[in-house]
Every structure is written in C-alpha cells, then in structure tokens.
C-alpha cells in the first residue's frame, strides 16, 4: 500500500522533514489534484481527440471544396456558408425538421406524462403495463424500422388491413406526404423512456402537498395543474430540451424507412421525411460535397448551441425549482 503513495506523492524535501501541518496539507492537496486529473484524463483526452478535433476538422473542411477523396481541394473561405443561406433545399429540410420537432416533442412529452399519471395509481398489473410501454424504447432502431415498414406496407401491412375493415382504401404510406406521419408514429412509439422519467418525478412529489390541496377542496384536475405539474416542471422542462435536441438530429429512421433501407438509400428518402440531417448526409455521401456538408453540420451545431442557451436562460421564468440550483449539485 505504501509504495503507491511514495510513487505518487512528491518526494519530501530534506528541509521539510519535521513536516508541519500546513506543509503536509499542501502536499496532500497537490497529490489530490494531480490524482483528480489522472482520474478524469480518459474523458478529457477523449473529449479533446474524439469531439473537439473532429468538430474542428469539420470546421476546416467547411472552408474548403473537399469532395471526400481527391487531393485537389482548395480553401474557399466562407462561400459554403454563403451558399447555404440561399440553398432552398437546405432551408426546406430545416423547416421540415422544425415542424417534425414541433409535433413530436409536445406530443411525446404529453403522452408520456399522461401515461405516467395513469400508471402512478395503485392498479393491478401496473408493473406489466409499465414494461409494455417501456419496452419499445429499447428496441434497436434497425428492428424498429423493419417492423414499421411491415406495418406501413401497402399490400400486406397491418395498418391497411385495419383500414380496409372499416372501408378505407389502401394507402401507400411510405411515400409523400404520408411518410411524414409514419415517421412521427414510429418516433412516438418509443416514448416509453420519457414515461419512466415522468413516473419517477411523480413519485417524488410529496404526498402531503396533494393531500393538503385535497383537504382544501381542490379538484383532482386543479391539483394536477397547480400542484403536481409545477413540482415536476424541471423534469418536464428537461424532457422538452432533450427531446428537441434528439429530434433535430434524426437521420437513421428516414433512411431506413425509405425504399431501399440501406446506408446509400438517401436518394430514395421521400421529400416529406427529408429532414436536415438527411440533407447533410446527402451532401456528404450522395453529392460528394464534404466541404458543404461540413458547413451544414456547423450550422446545425450552432443551432443546437443557441437552443440550449436560450432554453437555459428562459427556464427560470417558467420552471419551479424547489432547491436553489446552485446548491443542488
């Protein structure tokens, strides 16, 4: 045991031999902080090499006309960004992504909260039901996409089979404009993880608060809105933020729902599910425009950054924190 200390602690200087307390403490804190950096170094190095460097590399690429393979590239300054300003396809894909987010995030947060409220009651088989709703969120995306393609299949799919029973003609779901709704349904199917988070939040609300309101004669509906929701608002808020960031980066689902479901399928992604990341992907791998694609990535990065900052700044106006945030960590 003691060898470890001797190796790591700075060698004691001969004059410091009758180690007084302050000296020992200083030496200890130096050892301690060096150990801190040693322990966190995997993440610090990883963050620098595998996040900062690729992001910087992407920024460098965004200033070139690199096509991914040839060595005949040159610096083009910010012209990729200027082109992006007037790129109607990119803008359309961004708007579509905003629309997708504006539909998916409120819906999934609301349904997750509703489900959590129902499953928070003392019911029989409530554990089994929780599992049923939670399970889809851990199904890998590839299986999810294959599964939903089988449901949205025009001739053999479950959805058209049901619609036929009620007298509605078969719909070709995975083309425009219905592919957009198919993508939304696929996304909502995985809201179970959000439900689990909401459920934990609900169970953290002190029972006395709700009981006190009940004694005061408040209706259950009012208690829910005026007691429960404010109490769990930090969790709801966090769900909205992560939900927005997650739905902004959706790429694999549209790719796999498309006709040929493969990595090269970007050309068969119907316009209605051609989200921003799909557009980025297309610029990189279908159009061989690595410089332009990198510029699009960086714009996306800045958008995420701005959203996060805005949301954090505004949160104090509409989120109720029981504990002072600065002391909570």
């Amino acid at each position: 045991m003691s060898e470890v200390v001797i190796q790591k602690a700075p060698a004691p200087a001969p004059t410091a031999r009758p180690a007084t307390r302050p000296v020992r403490r200083r030496r200890w804190s130096r050892y301690s902080s060096r150990t801190f950096y040693l322990f966190v170094s995997p993440w610090v190095l990883g963050f620098l090499l595998l996040t900062v460097v690729p992001l910087g590399y992407a920024f460098a690429m965004s200033l070139t006309n690199f096509d991914g393979s040839s060595s005949l590239w040159r610096w083009v300054g910010f012209s990729n960004y200027q082109e992006l300003l007037h790129d109607s396809d990119a803008w359309a894909s961004l708007l579509r992504t905003v629309l997708y987010t504006a539909i998916v995030v409120p819906l999934s947060v609301a349904v997750a909260l509703g489900l959590a409220v129902l499953l928070n009651r003392r019911l029989r088989a409530v554990g089994l039901l929780r599992t049923v709703f939670f399970l889809p969120s851990v199904v890998p995306v590839v299986a999810t996409a294959i599964m939903w393609k089988l449901i949205f299949n025009r001739d053999s799919g479950l959805l058209n089979a049901i619609l036929e029973r009620v007298g509605i003609d078969a719909v070709t779901w995975l083309v425009d404009p219905t592919a957009f709704y198919a993508l939304i349904i696929l996304t909502l199917w995985g809201l179970g993880a959000g439900m689990v988070i909401m459920l934990a939040a609900l169970q953290g609300v002190p029972v006395e608060l709700e009981e006190a309101a009940l004694v005061d004669g408040a209706s259950r509906w009012r208690i829910f809105w005026n007691v429960t929701v404010p109490m769990i608002s930090p969790v709801i808020f966090f769900q909205v933020v992560t939900g927005v960031i997650m739905s902004f980066q959706v790429l694999v689902q549209p790719l796999l729902l498309a006709e040929t479901n493969s990595i090269g399928a970007v050309s068969t992604v119907p316009p209605s599910t051609h989200l921003y990341m799909v557009q980025v992907y297309q610029e990189y791998f279908a159009n061989q425009r690595f410089g332009y694609g990198s510029a699009m990535l960086w714009v996306f990065f800045l958008i995420i950054l701005i959203i996060t900052l805005l949301v954090q700044r505004s949160s104090r106006f509409w989120v109720y924190y029981e504990v002072d945030r600065d002391q909570s960590d």
Binding site: S33, P54, V142, S156
Partner: protein, 283 residues
C-alpha cells in the same frame, strides 16, 4: 344509496376507465412487435396474399433457420457481440474512473470541467460522427474495430454522470481514512469503490452493450460488409434473385436480432430504470 357506496361506485368506474385507456394504449404499443413476429412466421406467399392474413396458417419456423443462413448471421452476430462487449467493458471502466474523479477528488477547474461534461451529454453524437469518419479513413482506422476501442477508452459523459452520482452518495470520509492508512486513491478506487458499485457497473455495462448492439450509423459508415455488425447486415441481405427484399426473412432476422436486447431488458429492467431516472436522459 349511501354516500360511501356512491363513492365506491365512482372509484370503480374511474379505475375501469383508466384500465380501458391503458389497455387500448398497450395494444398500440405491443401490436407492432406482435406483427413483426407474425410476419416472421408467414410463408412468403401468405405475406403477399390478398386479403391480408393476420395469423399464419402454419407457423413457418423454418424462416428463422433461413434467416440464419440467408446471410452469414453467426459471423455478423459475433462481430456485434465482440464490438459491444469490448466497448461496454472499456467504457464502463473508464467512465467509473472519471466518475470517481468528479465525485471524490478535488482539483482546480473541476467545476467548469464538470459543466463541460454535462453539456457534452446533450451534444448529438451524429455531429462528430461524419467528420470522425473522414478523419479515421485518413488514419486507416476504417474497417478496423479501433474506433470502438477509442470510444470505449474515452468514457461516456452519460455514464460518467451515472457513476458520479453513485460515488457521491457513498458515505465514507475517505480523505481522512486515506491519510491515516497511507493508502493512495488508486487503491481506494479499486479496492473500496469499485466493489461497492456493482449495481452501477451492471447498469453501465448493460446500457453500453445495448447501445453498440443497436447502433446503425457508426458501423454503416466505418465498416464494410465483411466487417460490419448484425444491425447493418440485416438491412442489406435477404433479397430474392431480383434483388427485392424478402420481408418474412427480414422480419425473422430482425426478431432474432432483437432477442438479446429483450432478454437483457426483461431481466434487468430495474437497471435501465435506475439509469434513466438518475440522469433524466434516455441513454
């Protein structure tokens, strides 16, 4: 009728309505998976039959064996298993170490570093994946498994946070204990904290395993068809001589591919619940 029975009736009605809503939703959530399994058990001719057959006439269990031979399923499964295990072991150990550092050690700049870590939890990995691919192909790391080793060694902010919360809650006054015993932090971590953190280690291993098992984009970009994982392989194979997909076989393959995740999930659901409840993020 007395007031008490009135209330009981109301409560029963209320519970009944809740059940009804939950049952309808449960069918909506479980239905798609059931349809996948049903499709996997149908003959190809039955799948395309008009009108649609809901239940297969005779379950075609041979679809599963065909899915196993239609592509080199065992080889791809081994690739997935290998990558997932290597990554899960490495990322669990590295994240535990970093989490320990943030939970129990002090150093200048710890607070800002932790804030950076928290904000990278929100950073979409897709942002760095494509440039990483370009970089790695220049470094000759494409079609190797080194990227997953590097990602594993680099720790995951999400898991670091998980471990940090876990270690911070362990009530031992270590600074004093360490001073008295002359024991270094390396030993304290390995001998005291790691054995205490079994639940966190299991959570981290299972979570990170399922991440890589379920990942599509990274293997699709970084690995060719000979090196790739099951997730990519099942989207590529299972075609008839015309190059069209055979949906029943693909369904069978997808069902087989999901089985490990399902098993892990059903046996270790509480670990999954704990992880997302601790962090408030869904992995």
């Amino acid at each position: 009728m007395t007031r008490a029975t009135d209330r009981t009736v109301a409560r029963r009605l209320d519970a009944g309505a809740t059940y009804l809503v939950l049952m309808v939703l449960a069918v909506l959530f479980a239905g798609p998976l059931a349809w996948l399994v049903l499709a996997a058990l149908k003959k190809q001719s039955e799948w395309v039959a008009v009108p649609i057959h809901v239940l297969p006439e005779t379950p075609q269990w041979s679809n599963f064996t065909d899915a196993f031979t239609g592509i080199n399923f065992p080889a791809y499964a081994m690739n997935s298993l290998f990558l997932s295990t290597v990554y899960a072991v490495l990322v669990t150990l590295s994240s535990a170490a970093v989490g320990f550092g943030f939970a129990r050690l002090k150093g200048p700049g710890k607070r800002p570093l932790f804030l950076v870590l928290l904000s990278t939890m929100m950073l979409p990995s897709i942002l760095t994946l494509i440039p990483t691919y370009v970089l790695f192909s220049r470094l000759g790391l494409v079609n190797t498994y080194w990227p997953w080793v590097l990602w594993g060694l680099a720790a995951s902010p999400y898991l670091v946070f998980l471990f940090r919360q876990f270690f911070a809650a362990i009530p031992i006054d270590l600074e004093d204990a360490a001073i008295i015993d002359g024991c270094g932090y390396g030993r304290i971590f390995l001998r005291i904290f790691l054995p205490l953190s079994r639940p966190a280690l299991i959570t981290s291993f299972l979570l990170s395993f399922t991440w890589i098992w379920g990942d599509y984009l990274a293997p699709a970009l970084l690995l060719d068809i000979d090196h790739t994982t099951l997730s990519v392989a099942i989207t590529q194979g299972y075609r008839d001589p015309h190059g069209d997909y055979i949906p029943t076989l693909q369904a069978a393959a997808a069902a087989l591919y999901v089985v490990p995740v399902m098993v892990i999930f059903l046996f270790a659901q509480r670990y999954f619940v704990r992880s997302i409840v601790t962090s408030g993020v869904k992995g």
